[in-house]
Amino acid sequence: MSVRDAYDKAKAEGRAALVGYLPAGFPDYQGAIDAATAMVEAGCDVIEIGLPYSDPMMDGPTIQDAVHQALVGGVRVADVLRTVEAVAATGAATLVMTYWNPVDRYGVDAFARDLKSAGGQGLITPDLTPEEAGPWLAAADEHDLDKVFLVALSSTDERIETITRHSRGFVYAASLMGVTGARTAVNTGAPRLVERTRTIIGKDAGTAPHGGALPIGLGLGVGTGAQAAEVAAFADGVIVGSAFIRRLLDAPDRAAGLAGVRELAAELAEGVRGRA
C-alpha cells in the first residue's frame, strides 16, 4: 500500500492514520522486524524504519539509546533495506527516516533504486530541506518515491509553501520545538501549525504537484492513546516513535517487549479513532 493510500483509507474511515517509528536493528535485526510487524498487526497504517546514524542530532535520549544499541549490534545500511523489505511485505506502507549523510554516502540514486526495489515508499529527511535536496528530488521522481519533509512551528508561511510543494506522501509537522521524545502533553501550538499548513496546501491546490491533497502527519512528543485522540482531531496522521522504543527498552524480556509494543499500538489505534 502506498503512504497516500494509507492516509486515504484512514480518512475514508473517518479517522487519522497511525504512523509508527522504529529504528532498524533495534533491539536487533529480527527484533525490529518482529516489533514493526506487531505494530502493523495492532493498527499502524504506516511504518517509518529509522536508519541508525552515529550522530542523531535531532533525537532525544530514548531514540539515541535505541540507535546506539542498533549500531553496537552491527546494523548496516543493507540491513535497513532488508528490514524495509520484510516490513513492507506485511502490506503496510513503509518509509525510511534518515539523516542525510548515510544516503549521501550510499549514493542518492542508488539508495532510491534499492529502497524502491525493497518495497519502500520513500524517505523522511529530518536534516534535509528542499533547498539542499536537489539530487534527492530528482531521484525520488525517477524512482517514484515519496519525499516527506518537515514543517516546524518556526516555519514562515513562505517556507511552508516551499516545503509542501516539494513533499509527496505526507508532510511531517513537528509539534514542538525540540528533539524527539515523549512529552506529557501535546504542544498547544500544534493545531495552529497544522491549520496554517493546511491553508497553504489548499491555496496551492491549482499550482502545486500535491494538487491540494497533501496529508499532514503530526509527530514529536506524542505517546499515549489520549494524545493520539487529541492530535487526530486536527491532523491527518499521528506519528509515534519514542513511546514504542520505550516499551522495548523497559521490557524484562523480548516477549514482554513485543507485547508492550502491540498493546501501545492498539491503544494508539483506538486514539486515532477518537476513542481514548
Partner: protein, 417 residues
C-alpha cells in the same frame, strides 16, 4: 587595525569574498543541512549579521572590545632560536595566545555575543573541545550579562579540567556530554539539541568556521582580523609578503582567520596542518582532509571522517581542540581549488614542536598551535633561509600542562600515570 565594516572594503572587493554564495555554498561545500525548526533562526542570524556589519555603532562597539578588552592588535614575534630548527627560515609568530582568555576564540565570540544582544536574546550556548571556545564564550557572556551554557564531551572535561573550572568561575554552566565518543562532535550534537528547543531566546555561539550557513561565513569574517593584522605587520617588518602562512586546522577558525587576507596574494602559500594523532595510516587520527571523504555533518557538506555506511568515525588527537571528524567547508573548498594545502602532523611531531618552542623561545603554546609549529618546521625546511613564514600561534598552553607533563614524564613521583 579594525574589522572592516564598510561595503566595498578590501574584504568585499576581494575575489575570495565571492564565496560563499547567498545560500552559503563554497563550491560544492557548505550549505545548510539543518532541521527545519532552525531555519528561521539561521535566516534571522544571516540578516542580523549583514545588518550589523554595516552598522557603524555595532562595529564601533565590536572594535572597541577587540582593542580595549581582548587586547588587539596581537603582536608579531620573531622566533629566531626556534627558526634554527626550521631550516633557518624566518619564523614570525602571530600571537593570538596573548589575547584575553588566551586564544583566538575571543575574536569570534565578542562578535557573536554582541549579535546575541542585538537580536534580543538573553542566553548563549556553545560547544567546546579544549575549552578555549567555552572559556571565551563564558567570558563574553559574563561581560555582556548573558546566560551561558557550554557543552563539552566528558573525555574533554577530564583532559581539560582546568578550563572547566575557568568556565564555572565565569558563571557558565558546563554540561559534560556522555554520548558517542564523548568529545567535540558529541558536544556539537548536544548543543544543536539544546538550540532547537531554546532558539527563541538563545543564540548558538558556534566556535569554528563550521555548521550550517551563515556560521562558516560569519565566523570567518569575525576571525579575519588575524590575517588582516598579520599581513600589515609582516609588510611593515620585512617590506614584503611572507612566503607562507601556517596554521593548525581542526574546525579551522584560526586558520581561515589567518589565511583569508592572503587568499588573493597568489605568491603566499597557505598551509594548514591537521591533527594526525598516531598517524593517518593507523586510522587513529583527526586529519579530515588528508584522510576523509566528502559528506554531511553538523549542517554542512565538507570533508569528513566516515565509514562506508556514512557513519562518523571517531577522531583521535592528543589535542582536544583538533579532535573533530569534520572541518570547516571553506577549507574543503580551498583544498579542492588548490589554493591551500593541508597536511597531517602526528601527536609526536606536535609534542616535539611544543617542547621546542618552550625551550627556544620561552613561549608555551597550546597543543593545537603546536601542530602549526610542527608544520612550520616542515615548511621552513622546504623554503630554506630565504623563506619567511607567518605562523598563527592560536593559543597558549597553560590549559595543556597536565597533558604535557604526563606526555613528557614531568609529573612528580606517584602523580603520573
Amino acid at each position: 587595525m579594525t574589522i572592516d565594516s564598510a561595503p566595498g572594503s578590501a574584504m568585499s572587493a576581494s575575489e575570495s569574498a565571492t564565496v560563499p554564495d547567498a545560500t552559503g555554498h563554497f563550491g560544492v561545500f557548505g550549505g545548510r543541512f539543518a532541521p527545519e525548526a532552525l531555519m528561521a533562526a539561521l535566516d534571522e542570524l544571516d540578516r542580523e549579521f549583514a545588518a550589523a556589519r554595516k552598522d557603524p555603532e555595532f562595529m564601533a562597539e565590536l572594535n572597541g572590545l577587540l582593542k580595549d578588552y581582548a587586547g588587539r592588535p596581537s603582536i608579531l614575534t620573531e622566533a629566531k632560536r626556534f627558526a634554527e630548527h626550521a631550516g633557518g627560515a624566518r619564523i614570525l609568530l602571530k600571537r593570538e595566545d596573548l589575547n584575553h582568555t588566551g586564544s583566538h576564540k575571543i575574536n569570534n565570540v565578542l562578535g557573536q555575543a554582541l549579535l546575541t544582544k542585538r537580536m534580543g536574546k538573553k542566553r548563549v550556548i556553545a560547544e567546546t573541545g579544549a575549552g578555549q571556545h567555552g572559556v571565551a564564550t563564558a567570558t563574553a557572556a559574563a561581560l555582556l550579562g548573558l546566560e551561558c551554557t557550554v557543552f563539552m564531551g566528558e573525555v574533554d572535561t577530564q583532559r581539560q579540567a582546568l578550563n572547566v573550572a575557568r568556565m564555572r568561575m565565569l558563571g557558565a554552566q558546563v554540561v559534560p556530554v556522555r554520548t558517542g565518543s564523548r568529545t567535540l562532535k558529541d558536544a556539537c550534537n548536544e548543543a544543536f539539541r539544546d538550540w532547537v528547543a531554546t532558539v527563541d531566546d538563545t543564540h548558538y555561539c558556534v566556535g569554528s568556521t563550521m555548521g550550517p550557513h551563515p556560521f562558516p561565513m560569519m565566523v570567518r569574517e569575525l576571525q579575519r582580523i588575524i590575517g588582516v593584522e598579520a599581513r600589515q605587520q609582516v609588510i611593515d617588518l620585512t617590506g614584503e609578503l611572507p612566503d607562507a602562512v601556517v596554521a593548525c586546522v581542526g574546525g579551522g577558525s584560526n586558520a581561515i582567520g589567518a589565511f583569508h587576507a592572503f587568499v588573493d596574494d597568489a605568491s603566499v602559500r597557505l598551509c594548514g596542518f591537521e591533527a594526525a594523532g598516531d598517524g593517518v595510516d593507523t586510522g587513529r587520527h583527526a586529519a579530515t582532509i588528508s584522510g576523509g571523504r566528502v559528506g554531511v555533518i553538523h549542517g554542512m557538506r565538507t570533508y569528513l571522517l566516515q565509514d562506508e555506511d556514512g557513519q562518523t568515525v571517531e577522531s583521535h588527537s592528543i589535542s582536544a581542540g583538533l579532535d573533530y571528524p569534520g572541518v570547516g567547508p571553506e577549507h574543503s573548498w580551498l583544498h579542492d581549488s588548490g589554493r591551500a594545502e593541508y597536511r597531517p602532523v602526528t601527536d609526536a611531531e606536535a609534542m616535539e614542536a611544543f617542547s621546542l618552542l618552550c625551550r627556544t623561545e620561552g613561549i608555551i603554546p597550546a597543543i593545537e598551535s603546536a601542530h602549526a609549529l610542527a608544520g612550520a618546521i616542515k615548511v621552513g625546511k622546504e623554503l630554506g633561509p630565504e623563506g619567511t613564514l607567518v605562523v598563527c600561534l592560536s593559543g597558549r598552553g597553560d590549559k595543556d600542562m597536565h597533558t604535557a607533563a604526563e606526555y613528557f614524564g614531568l609529573m612528580p613521583e606517584g602523580e603520573g600515570r
